[in-house]
């Protein structure tokens, strides 16, 4: 077997592998979304790529959510402390949490943190 043939074959192998890796890591990247959970149940998933206004009821209270420019914020809530209102527009973890209403809003995006200790 000639050296040139070996080089061509190894180059072909390399190209095939590079294609597989690109497909796995680029093609599988998820769209960015926010998950709204209440007391252990997933209430809804919100696409952050589209502006929108939402109202969620948890049984303990309500929260109004607004998506603008790819970020989500809580704009109004029935809770007494209003901590969730001060979280600011977000498109990445840490989750927005409303303890009185047992609501948490989590963000999913490839390449973000695995968790936040606090």
């Amino acid at each position: 077997m000639k050296t040139r043939t070996w080089i061509l074959l190894l180059a072909a192998v390399f190209l095939v592998l590079a294609g597989i890796v690109a497909w796995q890591y680029l093609g599988a990247k998820p769209a960015q979304t926010a998950e709204v959970w209440a007391d252990g149940k997933l209430l809804r998933t919100i696409e952050l790529s589209q502006d929108g206004d939402y109202r969620v009821e948890t049984g303990l209270g309500w929260n109004e959510l607004r998506v603008r420019d790819g970020k989500l914020a809580v704009t109004a809530a029935s809770c007494p402390d209003g901590d969730c209102l001060r979280c600011g527009p977000r498109n990445a973890d840490p989750p927005i949490v409303c303890l009185p209403n047992r609501l948490s809003i989590r963000f999913s995006e490839a390449g973000t943190l695995d968790g936040v200790v606090k």
Binding site: W6, Q24, E35, G88, R90, V117
Partner: protein, 336 residues
Amino acid sequence: MKKLLPVLLALVLIFSACELLPDSGAKPQAASDASIWAMDTVMDLRLYGDADGSVMAELTALLNELDRELSAVSEDSALTALNESGRTDNARIRLLAAEAQRVSGFTGGALDITLLPVSRAWGFSTGSYRVPDTAELEALRGLVGMDKLTLTDEGVSLSDGAMLDLGALAKGYAAELCRERMEQAGVAGRLSLGGNIQTVGTKPDGSDWLIGVQDPEDENRYLLTLRLSGAKALVTSGDYQRYFMQDGLRYCHILDPETLAPVRGTLRAVTVVTDSGLYADALSTALFVLGREAGEVLWRERGDFEAIWAEADGTVWVTAGLADKVAEGEFEVVGP
């Protein structure tokens, strides 16, 4: 045959490499998420490799079981029964009390799990915050102290009307039990139990866990991000999560056993990183009470934990064993 050899070799290489890559079907390694409410907080669980959801179901059941057992506010928990009767044979409560005694012992009493009556006086366990006067606090002193806690062969007994609050250990213990179950099942993942982080195993792509440490000044920012591998427990105690403001002063929920008042000093938060969730949880509370300088001394003496201190002036101190794990952020190194 000689011509076919490289072709066969190439095919073997391709298929071998495909085996090593993340499977696009990815059922054994797909992430599954759940967000549950237990122990008076939100718990976010992310598991990798729990294809049929059985481990997630087990962890959820375990966390709810611990909630029922160790809650200081639930009327029918085993802990409430102990606080009412002064005795219990509950093995889990005994284990947590023993760990609290151990940590209290080598921190000069900085961890005290008998402060429930004092916490109630400040309104931290009820949400009706107030500043009790000195006479009221002194009157409560007879009810508190780790010397009122005795480990018996089967469980725990309390004297002089003392009551236990396991809030400084329960979530860490829960993380540890979850980690054990996940390791038995061969499931990796990241647990966030009310802000306590537990990593288990390796992510499907083989990369390190990337964990942010929250900035006490701004919930949308991080002091640092850390790259960690394998099973690690991270717990923060600080003045910014549960507190109230009165007359311009901040009163945080962590009480100093000496003064019976909220800890006040130059420290905003301390994060402990170690292998055991229970130890990390207990120690972070004690380190917050002790302050940074005493905490550094303890770190040098013990050598069984790493820590991050966030001071009010914005300085962040990281112990030498953790410094090379920092991915982003500015900090000073605490040397041996």
